[in-house]
């Protein structure tokens, strides 16, 4: 997602940039179309559907965090209310016989998220920073607990159920099979992603970035940062509502879990791991986190611990997230010095993997010591009660970290050399 250059001397570069820019989007759309043909099992279709929803949700969150600098702990409120709005709308369509087919339902989810944002947002966005974060946490808890009390709207513990196939058919699609739901989600994903990207390229989108960087100065170039934050909040609420509406269609239910703190935490987590500084960061984060969430739960009982470790690791060592790590290499690629860094990466792989295995073995040993369940690490079975396992874990952790640190230092040195060359060649400021 390179920024399109605009000046005349750079026309050629801009033309190349345009090809690459549209190329990336077309590749993404093609991948969405083709994926279910390659991985057509029910399990992968469900995974893809969940990932698609998670991507829209994470992108909507990044309108707040990455674009406008608003850290929200309650973004799932809009997602959840979007889900409930979609469920109620679907049930109303069925009971009144309105001619609204299923593909339009996510729009009503979006409106649900938007209306709540319009109502609550003006007060919430008066201040940024800690004040906003705390209020968002409070509102999140308020709505989540209300959802259990206001039974007529939220259906209490059971939630609101619906039947997506009862709606009027469109183009002969009943949306019973998961594949049809997947394509519906993919359609809304493309639409939402384009809309959210376009938003970043508007005057409002640019001023959102300015508010993120320096809300004080924004006031002295004619803008009210409060209005800017409010508008960003409303857009984020709208797109989160679309994601919630799609989730309601996918699961045919909306319940209090949709708008709780766990859901709010997950989207923060996804966006941050992916990298909030780039538009595509939250996409990577949503894919990885959803995939890990689905995959790790089958493998280990303490999957949340791994989530926590990954999160801490990213915050400490790569605050730019995965996208930040990837984009770090762009100046080196342009300067042609990337190849000087690659060998040190390759050297570092073995000790780093050894260290990771040691950590995993340690965690699993502790987690399974009392139950005695065997640990299966990449096909090798370990007994958590056996001293052999403990020694193996200790050797891997101590030896791995010792060697890994040496190789990491070599990466840093190689990186410095490559960056110096890139700087000399004018590709790095």
């Amino acid at each position: 997602m390179t920024t399109a250059a605009t000046s005349t001397p750079k026309m050629k570069a801009a033309a190349g940039g345009h090809v690459r820019f549209y190329g990336i989007w077309l590749i993404g759309i093609a991948a969405l179309l083709v994926l279910p043909m390659i991985f057509s099992s029910g399990g992968s279709l469900t995974s893809f559907s969940l990932i698609g929803i998670a991507i829209i949700f994470a992108l909507s969150y990044n309108i707040l965090l990455g674009q406008t600098g608003l850290l929200s702990f309650g973004h799932a409120v809009h997602y959840g209310l979007g889900g409930f709005a979609a469920c109620h709308m679907m049930n109303a369509v069925v009971s009144h016989g309105w001619p609204i087919p299923l593909p339009f339902i996510p729009l009503f989810g979006g409106l649900g998220g938007l209306v709540f944002a319009i109502i609550i947002g003006w007060v919430m966005t008066k201040r940024a920073g800690t004040v906003f974060a705390m209020i968002s946490l409070g509102i999140g808890e308020l709505v989540a607990s209300s959802s259990l009390i206001l039974r007529s709207v939220f259906g209490g513990e059971a939630g609101i159920t619906t039947d997506r196939t009862a709606l009027p058919k469109m183009l002969g699609w009943s949306f019973g099979p998961q594949i049809q739901v997947y394509y519906l989600i993919a359609f809304w994903l493309v639409l939402s992603a384009i809309a959210m990207y376009a938003l970043t390229r508007t005057p409002l989108g640019r001023i959102c970035n300015a508010v993120r960087d320096n809300p004080e100065r924004v006031q002295f170039i004619g803008y009210d940062p409060h209005v800017v934050r409010y508008l960003a909040f409303c857009f984020a609420g709208f797109f989160a509502g679309i994601a919630g509406g799609l989730a309601a269609i996918n699961f045919e239910i909306a319940n209090s879990a949709y708008l709780g703190a766990i859901q709010s935490g997950l989207v923060l987590f996804s966006s941050f791991i992916g990298g909030v500084a780039y538009f595509f960061g939250p996409i990577l984060g949503a894919i990885l986190v959803t995939y890990l969430q689905l995959g790790l739960t089958n493998v280990t009982g303490v999957w949340q611990l791994y989530f926590g470790i990954i999160f801490i690791g990213i915050v400490m060592f790569a605050p730019g997230g995965i996208a930040g790590l990837l984009m770090m290499h762009r100046p080196l690629v342009r300067a042609g010095t990337l190849w000087t860094v690659i060998p040190s990466y390759l050297v570092a792989i073995v000790p780093t993997v050894a260290l990771a295995c040691g950590v995993i073995l340690t965690i699993e040993t502790v987690a399974r010591y009392s139950s005695g369940d065997p640990i299966n690490l990449f096909g090798i079975a370990f007994n958590p009660t056996s001293p052999v396992t403990w020694i193996a874990a200790a050797v891997l952790v101590v030896g791995g970290s010792f060697v890994a640190r040496l190789t990491w230092r070599r990466i840093a040195e190689a990186w410095d050399r490559a960056a110096t060359v890139a700087r000399d060649r004018g590709y790095l400021a």
Binding site: T202, R206, I207, A210, D213, N214, Q219, G222, Y223
Partner: protein, 270 residues
Amino acid sequence: MSEAVIGTSEAAIGNGAAGPDKRAAIEVRAVEKRFGNVGIIRDLNLSVAQGERHAIIGPNGAGKSTTFNLISGHIKPTSGEVRLNGDLISGLQPFEINRRGLSRSFQVTNVFARMSVWENVRCAVLWATGHRYAFWKNVDSLPEVRERTAQILDDIHLTHRRDVPAGLLTYAEQRELEIGITIASGATVVMLDEPTAGMSNAETERAVALIRRLTEGKTLVIVEHDMSVVFGLADRISVLVYGHIIASGTPQEIRRDPKVKEAYLGEEAH
């Protein structure tokens, strides 16, 4: 204290010449600012005529930046009034004052650090070109925005750095960008807070030439410590001591003023 009392009468005489002119670009009348019990600004009177280059000088802690903050709406006066082109602006929000044609820079560089130089200036152009909070227009395809941004980048000699994040510029470049952002809206009243602070002699000279050129035909209010800059640039000078203007006049008048010599210039020269 007795000095301050004498100062009051001096200032009244100094401002008497300008009078309560309705067309003054900036008219500050009897403004007071207290933080708790501490009076930072006391009975501040200042008049800046249209098209005038007005410098505010004074020792450290005299309240020069506070005066800037009071006029630009960054902080609200405890009492008194501020008028811009005859309209009352005290009590308005900074962005409302900015929309009425007053723009200011900051003593400590205050740019959008993670955005490129181009984006910094463009953001400052957007409101003035009427695009406001538009979320239905592509910002890259607004010709007047592009032209004006390019023009300002050219003016501040930063065209070759247009894609560099503002936070990575050199100090002098950041100061130039600061001026660029300030004038980008096309405001008719420009206030610069120590634009050459921390610059080398060569950089200062460059910056002064830049300021002179870019504020042509505008009203300029400048806070500055460098006396060569002040006496070279200003049509009129006001001397601020302990939150109070003790003298206001042409550079010659200020040079001759015994109160100023005692309170400020004398101190400077030891």
